[in-house]
Symmetry: C2
Subunit: 366 residues, 2 copies
């Protein structure tokens, strides 16, 4: 079953992965939720994705497109989820009835704690026996759908941090994923991948700091080119420094966001984060949110920034700039992100101190 | 000496007051700091201000324009300061050598704690004997200079909350000021006037929430019309609710900002704060800051928002939205507004609990 992959989620990332992995010799089953079947209706007629961008211009016929989770889970042992953080819990529960101990679930990306959240659900429902979960720190591509059957890959990331939960399965999972994505680099555990998610640094603060413009202009706004000015980039950099403090506490490498963006291929090497964004050919054409109901705010704030701040607070690290972005995002949206976001306890860390968490990440439940 | 007034500060407010009070039969001396003499050089040639706007179109010849503080303090017993918060300490120290016990100092506006800050300086330097200080919650006019000798009064405020420090001189000071400004309404004390300063509610949050746009567009931005969208106004309203909690603790009227804007004549009566701003003829034409070095951020954050938050924290009230705006403003500007802003101790409250503060506001030092 090693050359068979089921991709969960037919968004930008799912389309890109389905086409790319098919070209890489994999039998790809692409699953999308029945409730949003419209997304794949057109594709289901021909199973053919029109690929453009850096991986070439090609019509790629994939093996199967389905909205049936039972089929999707039966077709492959490797289950690769490209869905956003807010869908992870929902999808984990959908997978539950069809989980087999052979299943290897890979979240691309984990989006700050995704593997831990899924593992918690599987464990609590008594279905975690033998199932292995891993995550990457980011989606392997910068990509955008171009039509109901087309996708453009703007960038294939040159660095994909990867780890399994529990980390004792790191090597086993790494061998499988390395064949699919040679850019993967094995790191300590799934908290380290989560702490290298760049979205909570690059997305919410610039949206908050341009909230009036976004709402007034109805999205006539370039997130990076216009939104991240020197002062705004300074806020992002301070958020990244707070994130790095958490990395240091756990003994992970505290890779500055500037360096990671360079290693991934997103931005050139520059002195300041402002210059990195400014001179990035990938970021430059990206428009900002059309309104404040955008994933840059509504996913990356409660699911990622809250998770980082929640871990930090529990372990005695102060994150005033993250906290302020969360509080203002909540006020702008009239939401209670601090209460409803992904917290320390949601990751399975309830009652644990630093050493307990480290042990848990290595060895898992029990 | 009751018909003689010295106005300190030849900015928008100083020009408006000088012209208006001269028309009201006062002998007006207008003082401006020698170090920024350029501001009044042109005016000094003729002593004549070209007034336009709601108070009529008229050339108003004022009694004197000077950059000599000794002269300025000698000419009148009533000293009316229109200078911004960040100049209050500097000016208080400049006044010191020429203070007489007959002097009645009126800050228009107090800008959150101005009377208390000045009183503390006078007291500590042994010059507070007999000197009385009072403040209004706002400048009596919405106005803008139109040239080095011209000013336009857009609005004469219909409500001016007023009190003296210590409040035992309230009636005495009120009698004097009522003649100058019939719109004054006497309230409890100078903390109540400070808590009714609208700038910390209306200015910093929208600047922070449009920071990227302001910096990117170099100020091509209307603060109210474009910057205060429904979501941004929601943040302002939440800040106002935090401010109202402090008012309640002290037993002051917690006047909602919507109502105060209506009472002052700034905005029509509306259901939501967004609609108040949107439908205000005074606010609508006002452009936003040219950059992030603007008083809307650099005065109203450290001098006013920090003062409110600092009082709240010391007395056990939580102000998460104010705090977040202060922290993000600090991060944007790379400043330490929490440390360098106007705090509880700067107001003379050091070591006091709620009851002590109330007594101090009523009776003053010793």
């Amino acid at each position: 079953m090693e050359k068979k992959v089921t991709i969960i989620g037919a968004g930008n990332g799912g389309f890109a992965a389905a086409a790319d992995l098919t070209l890489g010799g994999y039998q790809v089953t692409l699953y999308h939720d029945e409730a949003r079947k419209k997304t794949v209706e057109e594709l289901m007629k021909t199973n053919t994705i029109e690929l453009t961008g850096v991986k070439g211009k090609e019509k790629v016929k994939i093996y199967k497109v389905t909205t049936n989770m039972k089929d999707a889970m039966a077709e492959s042992d490797i289950i690769m989820s490209t869905i956003p953080a807010y869908g992870q819990e929902y999808i984990a529960n959908k997978m539950l009835p069809y989980l087999r101990k052979e299943h290897k679930i890979i979240l691309t990306p984990g989006s700050t704690g995704g593997a831990l959240v899924m593992a918690k659900i599987f464990y609590e429902k008594g279905k975690f026996d033998g199932v292995k979960i891993a995550e990457m720190h980011t989606l392997p591509y910068a990509c955008r759908k171009t039509s109901p059957t087309g996708v453009k890959i703007l960038l294939e990331c040159k660095k994909l941090y990867f780890a399994a939960f529990p980390a004792k399965y790191n090597e086993e999972m790494y061998k499988i994923v390395k064949k699919m994505y040679p850019a993967v680099e094995l790191i300590k555990d799934v908290l380290e991948t989560s702490l290298n998610n760049g979205n909570p640094v690059s997305h919410p603060a610039p949206v908050v700091l341009n909230a009036g413009k976004i709402e007034y202009s109805k999205g006539e706004h370039y997130h990076y080119r216009e939104g991240i000015t020197p002062s705004v980039a300074r806020v992002n950099q301070k958020i990244d420094l707070e994130r790095q403090e958490i990395c240091k506490l756990f003994g992970y490498k505290a890779i500055d966001i500037k360096d990671r963006l360079y290693l991934m291929g997103y931005a050139p090497k520059r002195e300041t984060l402002y210059e990195c964004y400014r001179d990035s050919e990938v970021f430059n054409p990206l428009k900002g949110p059309k309104d404040l109901n955008d994933r840059y705010l509504t996913e990356d704030t409660p699911y990622s920034l809250v998770a980082l701040a929640s871990i930090a607070h529990k372990l005695g690290i102060k994150t005033p700039v993250m906290d302020s972005v969360i509080t203002l995002a909540s006020a702008l949206k009239d939401e209670e992100y601090w209460e409803n976001g992904r917290t320390f306890n949601d990751l399975g860390f309830e009652g644990m101190d630093l050493e307990k968490i480290k042990d848990f990440l290595q060895n898992g439940y029990e």
